[in-house]
């Protein structure tokens, strides 16, 4: 028995959900829900336990990077892509979030999906997603990471289109898949570029080599900038950033647990994870970092404004997710990777909770998603209301809740850059506003649904117990960072420090003169933090809380005190309102600029010209030609014995003629001998 059994057999963590997926997918069709539950929840629960044990062993072994090569997957020349898994502090966070939150959502889904068809199929896909996501976060090289990356895209497609008989759901699935492919294209180019430059895609060796790279290559638009921008393109696709965010709001067509697990808590954070994982490359590419920060900040603000006016409860949350992911990228873009990952974790808790609670609301009033048809639910579904309120306080940044700490960490990190800070703060205000708008519209006021037809009821235990657990996590999840406010270290970021502060676990190999470059941003940040006295830290926190409070008050005023004012305001600002309601017409713009020309090209050139006329024409032409010749020659086979005799004689005469009259010296056809 090895000293650290689970670490030594790390593959067991992703394998368990795969097994669950295979069992349910292959055999589950005829099973009752109870047995499907055992396979689905059992496998993910075991996987969670294994992850916990692996993390314990990781701490036990002194928190050093654990890395193991299980088998070589592709070997060609000097290229090697292995099934290599690794465990470091960043992986610890990701694995626990994925398995833990994933497991809770599985439990929730057993209640939520209980009356849906295709129950086994749903859990098979959901487990498949867990498998790929775990591969993604455990992978020790870019190639294996990309397997997980594509795999989660596939599962996401399958689950968005779970109600595939509904056209909008099927379309949303396709949209998500295709938009993601655009990002993946960039990601692949980035991988190829990295391989060409460094000759490896293994994290450890690649980052070590990157540390030794000559300083000239790290200029404004050097090698690193190109590689990082390409990787970031993949991240914008998967993590729904400008300009590739359009698929995420549509992804809400999937069942609510899917929205919670994939499109809020885990998969969409994959882009942030990749940026954080590649932070060494990014710190060498200041231009790319700036791009990341600006895109993140712009997305945070842009998505938040759209979220202001949406009426579908899940769409508000979807735009909120896009916005919060923007925050994470903003943090990464200014070098505060720890803060970004911290927000990733807290966001996973409270956004999963928000979605699940929203699902519980939808469940309670019989499938209605439009907030203008809800209202007054706070008395009817107390647990859902309570937990959703906790999550809302967390995302709005109320002091003491997890979102407060993580958002504050990000805002402090960007404080030196006034534009980014300003927009970050503004987005925080908008976040607070639209979240409380959601709460007020859903739970307060008079019921706007037909009370005689719909009897709002609390969800079953399997649904609200995960809600309660996630609510607890949404509160305590942030306290890892709390000691900062009393002049101690930020435990969470301290924990991640070995990953982010010393690039390449082999920092000693970096020559002295390039060492300052390595953590340029980190050091600058650290210095700023060092100078920042407690008062400044508290001031920033106070500003953030004040901003959130303003957002809350506006929402309170518009939707509780003066419910008519909201409509008046919408009327007086009609052009702005309709623009927001129609999401800035981005979908229409993409349809006009990208989709329609592409469809035209595909229909008229690729389909009608190339495929039908060209390829089919050639194939069918050959077949028709052969048939015509056969039809003509068929008549020589008359069955008349004497005509055969004539053919024999004619043939003999022709051969003789060739032999006798062929020009001398020239080669006879068919090798006749003279």
């Amino acid at each position: 028995m090895p000293a650290h059994p689970i670490l030594e057999y790390l593959w067991i963590i992703p394998l368990l959900p795969l097994l669950g997926s295979a069992i349910n997918g292959l055999l589950g069709a005829k099973w009752p829900n109870r047995i499907v539950n055992i396979a689905a929840i059992g496998s993910t629960g075991l996987s969670f336990l294994c992850a916990l044990e692996a993390v314990r062993e990781f701490f036990d072994s002194g928190q050093v990077l654990f890395r193991k090569e299980f088998f070589a997957w592709i070997t060609a020349g000097n290229f090697r892509a292995g099934f290599d898994l690794q465990m470091d502090q960043l992986t610890v966070v990701m694995v626990l979030v994925v398995t833990g939150v994933g497991w809770l959502i599985h439990i929730y889904a057993t209640g939520y999906m209980a009356h849906e068809g295709g129950y086994y199929r749903f859990f098979s896909y959901l487990n498949l997603f867990m498998f790929f996501m775990l591969i993604l976060v455990l992978a020790a090289n870019y190639v294996l990471l990309f397997v997980g990356w594509e795999g989660v895209g596939l599962s996401s497609y399958l689950l968005i289109g779970f109600y595939f008989l509904k056209k909008s759901a099927a379309d949303a699935g396709k949209k998500a898949f295709i938009v993601n492919r655009i990002g993946d294209f960039g990601f692949m180019l980035g991988m190829f570029f990295l391989f060409r430059t460094f000759g490896t895609l293994d994290f450890q060796t690649l980052f070590a080599k990157a540390g030794l790279w000559p300083a000239e290559a790290m200029g404004q638009f050097g090698t690193f900038t190109i590689a990082c921008l390409l990787l970031f393109m993949g991240a914008t696709g998967k993590s729904a950033q400008l300009p590739l965010y359009v698929w995420l709001p549509d992804a809400m067509e999937g069942p609510t647990p899917v929205s919670a697990l994939i499109h809020a808590a885990t998969m969409v954070t994959a882009g942030v994870y990749v940026v954080a994982r590649s932070h060494i490359l990014f710190t060498y590419a200041p231009t790319a970092m700036l791009v990341v920060a600006i895109v993140g900040c712009a997305t945070a603000f842009f998505a938040a404004t759209i979220g202001l006016v949406q009426t579908d409860i899940k769409r508000v949350l979807a735009y909120s997710t896009v916005s919060q992911l923007g925050y994470m990228f903003l943090a990464c873009g200014v070098g505060a990777f720890g803060a970004g990952i911290f927000h990733l974790m807290t966001h996973a808790f409270f956004k999963a909770l928000l979605f699940l609670a929203a699902g519980s609301v939808i469940h309670a009033i019989g499938g209605e998603q439009d907030m203008t048809k809800m209202g007054g639910l706070s008395k009817k579904i107390r647990w859902t209301y309570g937990t959703m309120l906790v999550a809302t306080l967390a995302i709005a940044g109320a002091p003491g809740f997890s979102g407060f700490f993580s958002k504050d960490a990000i805002l402090v990190a960007v404080a030196g850059k006034y534009w980014l800070y300003g927009f970050g703060l503004l987005s925080a205000l908008l976040t607070s506003f639209y979240m409380f708008r959601l709460i007020f519209l859903t739970f307060f006021g008079k019921p706007r649904y037909d009370e005689h037809k719909v009897h709002a009821h609390e969800s079953p235990r399997s649904m609200f117990i995960p809600l309660v657990i996630l609510a607890l996590l949404s509160i305590v999840g942030g306290w890892l960072a709390a000691p900062e406010f009393w002049g101690h270290a930020n435990y969470f970021e301290d924990f991640l420090n070995p990953v982010f502060a010393s690039p390449t676990q082999s920092v000693k190999t970096i020559p002295v003169d390039t060492a300052p470059r390595v953590g340029k941003f980190l050091f600058a940040f650290g210095e700023a933090m060092g100078r920042a006295s407690m008062e400044i830290l508290w001031t920033y926190a106070a500003i953030a809380v004040g901003t959130a409070l303003i957002g809350f008050l506006i929402a309170y005023w518009l939707y509780i005190r003066q419910p008519r004012k909201a409509d008046d305001l919408a009327k007086s600002l009609r052009p702005a309102y309709t623009t927001l309601l129609n999401k800035y017409y981005v979908d229409e713009l993409y349809a006009a600029v990208v989709v329609r020309p592409l469809v035209w090209l595909s229909t008229n050139v690729l389909w009608k010209a190339a495929d039908v006329a060209g390829i089919d024409g050639t194939v069918n032409g050959i077949a028709h030609g052969a048939a015509a010749i056969g039809d003509g020659v068929r008549h020589s086979q008359s069955g008349n014995t004497r005509s055969y005799a004539v053919w024999v004689v004619v043939g003999a005469i022709v051969l003789l003629a060739i032999i006798f009259f062929w020009p001398s010296g020239a080669k006879t056809p068919v090798g006749l001998v003279r």
Binding site: S638, G639, N640, V646
Partner: protein, 100 residues
């Protein structure tokens, strides 16, 4: 000594007759005989050239042709008898089961 030309011309005439009969005759037996005629015309040419060049290869071939012709005659006659039994005729025009 008869000049080689004569033999070759005679062989050609016989072969031509054989071809002619092969195409235009209707009776299976006649057609069969015309094939024999062609074979023997070729045999004649072989023997004539053999003598003209003073080499034995031609005569060896003739022996082969005779052996093969005998075998062929046995098989061919067997087929003809079967046809005659089954169809009560030897007219090739009537042997038309393969016709379209």
């Amino acid at each position: 000594m008869v000049p080689t030309n004569y033999y070759v011309i005679l062989s050609a005439i016989l072969f031509g007759l054989g071809v002619f009969a092969f195409i235009f005759k209707r009776n299976l037996i006649t057609i069969f005989m015309s094939i024999e005629l062609m074979l023997n015309a070729v045999n004649l040419a072989f023997v004539a050239f053999s003598q003209a060049f003073g080499r034995l290869d031609g005569q060896v071939f003739v022996l082969f042709v005779i052996v093969v012709a005998a075998a062929e005659a046995a098989v061919g006659l067997g087929i003809i008898i079967l046809i005659a039994r089954n169809r009560q005729t030897l007219n090739v025009e009537r042997v038309d089961l393969l016709k379209l």
